[in-house]
């Protein structure tokens, strides 16, 4: 077992090094670059040359990569080219915003999706079921950015129920403790800030929740329908158990297994949806950071750190899954 873990860890290191080299070279070969963004419209060839030299972009790419790796192994991802802030600080500011949005979206998706899927299955073929199927089809197929703009236009410009963007009303004083504004308001008893953060959160969360909601409804419905036909449900009914017991213990509990797996998968998918949602609502999370770092002048250090960290998480999760297989299935260990 230990050999398996060591081998996989070594593979992990090799994978990350290869990935970091690919990212490094790819980013530096994209058209445009930070020099243009830093110098703005006043860039003359002399100024450009000066800055290129100062930034070390005139050195061979392998030398640049070597210097980059030297810093990364000490945990130093450098500073944002645009703001000069350490990349770790930039990321730690953006991360809570994305997590807050993703959690809110998942609460909506699961809180609505599971009951709706269950009800649709119970009343199969009736109006609610038909409506649910049509609704989920729409939810899955509508592009997130389009829905975002649509919702934003209607709710913020036509009926003015929600604010168009941001995480808090401009100028509202709040104490930033964790970076999760709703939570911070509760912790510091600044309840108006908490309510305000929630008010700003609703529309982006609904937008982001659309796809997972639709998927969860459909999976729950299908799963409940499967379970409804199981012998043990019929047996439970024949035994004369109360409906509530049958629903809760026998149907829902069994039907939820694939739903939980789906929720796990959808949580990962939320992050890609967050890029678009955050852009629409000027949210200020990782998604906004990615788009700003690309369009706002190729902020190499920030982009490298985000991509590397995402890759690291992905690779580590894969490793853990593989290791868990090894625990569960002895044959994997032998292989």
């Amino acid at each position: 077992m230990l050999r398996v873990i060591v081998r996989r860890l070594l593979q992990l290191v090799v994978t990350l090094i290869a990935l970091s080299a690919l990212i490094f070279i790819w980013l530096r070969n994209l058209p445009g670059g930070p020099v243009e963004a830093l110098l703005g419209e006043r860039a003359t060839p002399e100024r450009r040359a000066l800055l290129i030299k100062a930034l070390g972009y005139d050195q061979p790419i392998l030398v640049q990569y070597g210097k980059f790796m030297q810093r990364v192994v000490t945990g130093d991802f450098g500073n944002s080219i645009r703001s000069g802030d350490p990349v770790t600080e930039v990321l730690s500011r953006a991360f809570p915003a994305t997590i807050e949005l993703a959690v809110a979206a998942m609460i909506i998706a699961v809180g609505l999706g599971v009951p709706l899927g269950y009800l649709a299955a119970r009343w199969r073929g009736r109006s609610l079921d038909n409506l649910t199927i049509a609704g989920t089809l729409l939810g899955i197929s509508i592009p997130i950015f389009f829905l975002g703009y649509l919702l934003k236009d209607f709710f913020t410009q036509n009926i003015h129920w929600f604010p168009p963007s941001g995480r808090l009303t401009t100028g509202l004083d709040n104490t930033d403790v964790t970076g999760f504004f709703v939570l911070d308001g509760l912790l510091t008893r600044e309840f108006d800030a908490s309510a305000d953060a929630l008010w700003h959160l609703i529309l982006p969360a609904i937008t982001l929740a659309t796809i997972p909601l639709a998927v969860i409804v459909r999976i729950t419905r299908a799963s409940v329908l499967d379970v409804l036909n199981e012998d043990y449900v019929r047996t439970a009914e024949a035994k004369g158990l109360r409906n509530r017991t049958i629903r809760g213990r026998h149907i829902l509990r069994n039907a939820l297994l694939p739903v939980v797996t789906t929720i796990g998968l959808q949580t990962g998918a939320l992050l890609s949806g967050a890029v678009l949602t955050e852009k629409v609502y000027n949210w200020g999370g990782i998604g906004t950071l990615i788009t700003d770092s690309i369009s706002g002048g190729r902020d190499y250090p920030v982009l490298q750190a985000i991509i590397l960290l995402a890759a690291l998480v992905f690779v580590v999760v894969n490793l853990l899954v593989d290791l868990s297989y090894a625990f569960i299935d002895p044959r994997v260990r032998v292989r």
């Binding site: 445009g32 110098l39 800055l51 929600f162 168009p164 963007s165 930033d176 305000d196 929630l198 706002g296």
Partner: protein
């Protein structure tokens, strides 16, 4: 009303009764303003991007200058709403006949935000600081200093030039004498550059302002630049909350000039243009900059104040003489005659735009009313092409579809109209759309891959050299021909002329010759960039240089 109801409902669901009360309080504060104009309150303006930092000398872009301009003053400033010079921290200034020794009579009784006095020693400290700046990293960030003063006491990079600054002497508290190694036409206008704002020497020292550390491929600025900028301006620095994207500026009650009407100004950074517009409509910000031309009428119709700044910019069609056909003046003139610029202005120009016949606005010294004008004449264009043996000419036309600039708010539409005009006289146009920071600037200004391109400029200060000198003062890849020495020499001579009358005559002749003899590009239009504020904002004076100060602004509800 609906907003409040929903907000209250949300609060109830989330944090129960206490939250409702608190939210209600917040609302009642917002609703409690009287309908009369008053001093106080908060003015919220939407910025389009993050400032780089707040040390004026290390900045060169509009988003950084917006907050910096509120906190700092320059020796010379501009009369509100114009590009004309007036006293700033210096009440008057004069120079010797050679234009090398500049004497500034300074305002008395002015204090920096940290309470230290502003005087000639502070002025000299700033000039000496710029001149003696050490480190390649720091020097590479001083874009405007390099533009104006050429080089440093010790150039850390061989590409830097010979310094124009020589020394600064504090004759007494109220008199600073700046000596230059040579005269330059940029003066005195350049003394009004936001980059050359005067900062508190004490704060510069205390917060280690000169230290710009390089970490990998980025720069780390000092505490002065990031959290403790100290100037003399009408607002003091309140903070930059990066999680909320808000820069807060507080009213400076001790400001020597017109004190700010509002207690606080917040610059809310919203990078998406349509979101800025939506925030304006929702009333959550009270001002936005550079609305799309297509939105202006609608915004006016909805009751917003769309204020056109006097145009202090130029859009031009660049002609790359690397293409042998374009080296022929007749072909370049044919292109100029082929363009129906009047129609372009009427159909695609922002309100108030006008056709340009030279590369500077008519408010700049040296504008020549009698330059050769290329009125729309497709027949003449065809004839010139025939005479030059350039019939059936094919040209690659580069344009950046992804940006909006004050002088070029709608590049795609401008390209389409110009390309149609050229095709109408038999020139085949290959449109090459390239992202601004993903090929356009590299291909046009570094590699010269194009034949034609659209680009422009907003003036920094009222000086012909800042327009014509910037474009045509030396060989540039953008225009292809590095050997137009006659033009470069004429521009250098005009720029080095000290007396006003001689300077005016020299620049007028340059403008005439550019239009008739050299024609390295075709001037297209001067487009007034707009700034939009809600109807409850009063007192905003829009600047042709887009360098507004918001101390005159009040907000009524």
């Amino acid at each position: 009303m609906q907003v409040r109801r929903l907000k209250t409902a949300v609060a109830l669901a989330a944090v129960a009764a206490l939250a409702v009360g608190a939210a209600g309080c917040a609302e009642s504060e917002r609703d409690g303003d009287s309908g009369e104009a008053k001093t106080g309150g908060t003015f919220i303006f939407a910025g389009a991007g993050d400032p780089k930092n707040f040390d004026p000398i290390f900045n060169d872009d509009g988003e950084s200058f917006r907050p910096v301009r509120q906190m700092f003053d320059t020796l010379v400033s501009h009369k509100p709403g114009t590009a004309e010079l007036q006293g700033g921290l210096a009440e008057t200034w004069e120079h010797d006949p050679e234009g090398k020794v500049w004497t500034f009579k300074l305002r008395q009784g002015v204090k920096f935000h940290d309470g230290t006095p502003f005087n000639a020693a502070a002025v000299c400290f700033n000039f000496d600081r710029w001149y003696n700046m050490k480190g390649a990293a720091a020097q590479s960030q001083m874009i405007y200093y390099m533009d104006v003063f050429g080089g440093f006491a010790k150039n850390e990079n061989p590409d830097a030039g010979k310094p124009i600054y020589n020394k600064c002497e504090a004759k007494d508290d109220g008199t600073a004498i700046v000596t230059l190694n040579q005269y330059k036409g940029a003066f005195p206008g350049a003394f009004a550059l936001t980059s050359l704002s005067i900062a508190s020497p004490e704060a510069l020292k205390k917060f280690d302002a000169d230290t710009v550390k390089q970490n990998g491929d980025s720069f780390e600025y000092s505490a002065f630049a990031t959290t403790n900028p100290v100037g003399t301006g009408p607002f003091t620095f309140g903070g930059w909350d990066k999680a909320k994207n808000e820069i807060t500026l507080n009213r400076n009650a001790d400001y020597f000039g017109e004190k700010a009407k509002v207690d606080k100004m917040i610059i809310k950074i919203i990078k998406d243009e349509s979101t800025r517009k939506q925030e304006l409509k929702a009333g959550t910000v009270q001002g936005i900059d550079f609305p799309a031309p297509a939105d202006r009428k609608a915004l006016e119709g909805e009751g917003f104040q769309v204020i056109n700044r006097p145009a202090f910019n130029i859009l031009y069609l660049g002609l790359n003489q690397k293409n042998p056909k374009l080296k022929d003046l007749r072909v370049r003139q044919a292109i100029a005659y082929a363009l129906n610029r009047q129609q372009l202005v009427q159909t695609k120009g922002p309100g108030g735009a006008k056709v340009a016949d030279q590369f500077m606005p008519d408010t700049v010294l040296g504008y020549a009313p009698d330059v050769q004008k290329y009125e729309y004449n497709p027949e003449k264009a065809k004839q010139l092409l025939k005479d030059a043996g350039a019939e059936g000419l094919t040209l690659n036309f580069y344009y950046p579809p992804d940006v909006s600039r004050p002088y070029m708010p709608n590049p795609q539409e401008i390209f389409t109209v110009l390309a149609n005009d050229l095709q109408a006289v038999g020139i085949k146009v290959n449109g090459v759309p390239r992202p601004w920071n993903g090929g356009f600037k590299d291909d046009v200004q570094q590699f010269g891959k194009h034949d034609l391109h659209i680009l422009g400029w907003t003036g920094d200060y009222n000086d012909p050299g800042n327009f014509v000198g910037t474009f045509f003062g030396r060989g540039k890849v953008e225009f292809g021909d590095q050997s137009m020495t006659e033009m470069f020499d004429a521009i250098a001579k005009a720029d080095g002329t000290v007396d006003d009358a001689g300077k005016k005559a020299a620049w007028e002749q340059v403008n005439r010759d550019i239009a008739a003899k050299w024609l390295p590009a075709v001037p297209v239009w001067h487009a007034p960039p707009a700034i939009v504020v809600t109807k409850d904002v009063k007192g905003l004076v829009a600047s042709p240089l887009t360098d507004e100060r918001f101390n005159t602004v009040s907000v009524t509800k």
